[in-house]
Symmetry: none
Subunit: 193 residues, 4 copies
């Protein structure tokens, strides 16, 4: 079981850790299990990560980076703000469903702040993306003159809630289409339509 490339081992650990953290959460996940799942020794874990927290944070950072890149990419060439928003929402929900693991949950370990800084940065960035879309929508006259920040927060909150639902009520999810439809058009019936 010796002599594996360091990079491969690191990746194997991260993948395994993802599964374990996803199943048990940070506090209940333990290094022994992660080691076993990684098919590496406990000591081996510490060859690649300073400690449990480092492992977790590295994991988070990488997954969030992936996610941020993808959403950013998928939206940047869309001109229609309604479409862009729809795509952003769909991207987010689908990605979350696919990687139910962790992602945004687990904000409470270690007396609140724990990788929170990193998460906040990520959120801010993502929210910035939504804000831009909304701003463009308002400028182009497609969207109403809403409070951009507040609205972005609300949209973000739907996504965040969705992610939490994946964990808590995986059978009570909703479709991205229905979601963007509601956000774009609202619940109230328009006159004569």
């Amino acid at each position: 079981m010796n002599k594996r490339s360091g990079i491969k081992s690191k990746k194997r650990i991260l993948d395994a850790a993802m599964k374990v953290f996803a199943e048990y959460g940070y506090a209940k996940a333990n290094m022994r299990v992660i080691a076993k799942a990684s098919d590496i020794s406990i000591g081996g874990l510490y060859l690649y990560f300073k400690n449990k927290e480092d492992l977790y944070l590295t994991l988070m950072k990488s997954r969030m980076g992936d996610f941020a890149d993808k959403t950013m990419e998928s939206v940047k060439d869309i001109n229609d703000p309604a479409e862009a928003l729809g795509i952003f929402i769909a991207m987010s929900l689908n990605y979350a469903k696919k990687h139910k693991e962790i992602i945004l949950v687990q904000g409470r370990e270690h007396g609140f702040a724990f990788g929170l800084e990193m998460k906040r940065k990520f959120f801010k960035k993502q929210r910035g993306l939504v804000e831009n879309i909304i701003r463009q929508g308002i400028q182009s006259g497609v969207f109403k003159k809403v409070n951009v920040q507040e609205t972005a927060r609300i949209i973000f909150s739907v996504i965040r809630g969705f992610i939490l639902s994946i964990v808590v009520e995986p059978d009570s999810l909703f479709s991205p289409e229905e979601c963007s439809n509601l956000i774009l058009n609202g619940l109230i019936r328009r006159n004569k339509q």
Copy 2:
């Protein structure tokens, strides 16, 4: 420090436990601290609760019951579905902000199912309330003919996301008004308005 009514002691423990769980989360909260905060002995804790999990679950159940009762009550006499929905959202967000503690987070301890059954029941009930409102709105012609279940889930997701935000990004919350406005009217500008 002895001879206290059992009921009072139990209440004192629950109140203290709420604060402690809220600050540390389930896994990191420990019985000694809860005991101290309750001004009771460690052994005393086990007089009223079978174990830590029982304490936590009892706590959850009671708070959720409180919450469910309140929302139920506040909405039942409102006839206008738009207003009812607005009130429900406002109630939920404000209650969540006031009792940031726990509530919905912490769905992941103990390998997934952990008081989840109880939580799901609560969610279902709450969602049922929203569904009713929506159904009435559709029937009365105020709301569009949306998919009731899906829409209720989405609305619920906003609230759930808001609650998570309280923990993760307490400075990025949004106002209930803005929220119900978005949900009711949507983002897209109506013709000639």
Copy 3:
């Protein structure tokens, strides 16, 4: 094995720890063994001491305090400086032999400073005692006009070396009498005697 007085337990731990530290040294001594020797559980250890270091330091402090008190006491009423010095030396060597355990060894754990502050205080105090004796000896004309500090350091060094010898070469110790004789009278033969 339950319900023992806290004070008794603490004392039992300290006594056991003394033996264990004495046999293995700080680094090699482990809490499991100390627990067993104390006839207490591992967790019990941490009821009385914050951690291994705390246990060790508490131990040191108490033993040094004992020792300092005794030497101080035994010397304070002696007027003849030569006799006082002899008694101090005898006291020190005998005490050390009786409590071979630890005492002065182990100055190197944790990258040097480790309870060093405490030890230094103790040494200073002890050396101060010797300095006083020497000073009085000089004043009364019994001793030569030596450098008080330096001489005290040398005398102290003999004692310290003796203690180390207990550990390293327990069969190569010397008698207190011979020692004070050498220090008082020196090696060189006096004229016409």
Copy 4:
């Protein structure tokens, strides 16, 4: 970084190990650090030394050998026993100060006996040297008729204590001159001096 003569590598390791052991002590020193300080791989260490203990013992042996040789050499041609003793003391203290590292401390690892045999041999040899000087001093009438062994032990103890002081109280050392003066002439004032 390869193809180095074995002898050179071994020496490099020993030099590095000396520094590391000196800084951390035996127990806290670890092979990785020694490897790094030696600019050799961990595996490389085990090419030259069976294990950590072997490395340490080899180190000790070589340094003690050095020291023994030097003192032996410096004293052998001196005829005046007082001068010889002074030189021996000065040599010892100065050498100790210069190579504060290890030397005599750390007699306690591994449950007492740990390189102790070797150390004892060294001590015996050194003490033999002192005994010879004293014996010659007595024979030539310069020294009193003291117990040779005891006196040698006492003198050795001063040196040993000095070494320990280097570690514990490096700012409380004394000068070799003062030391040999005290040992040679004693503290008590001679008649009509």
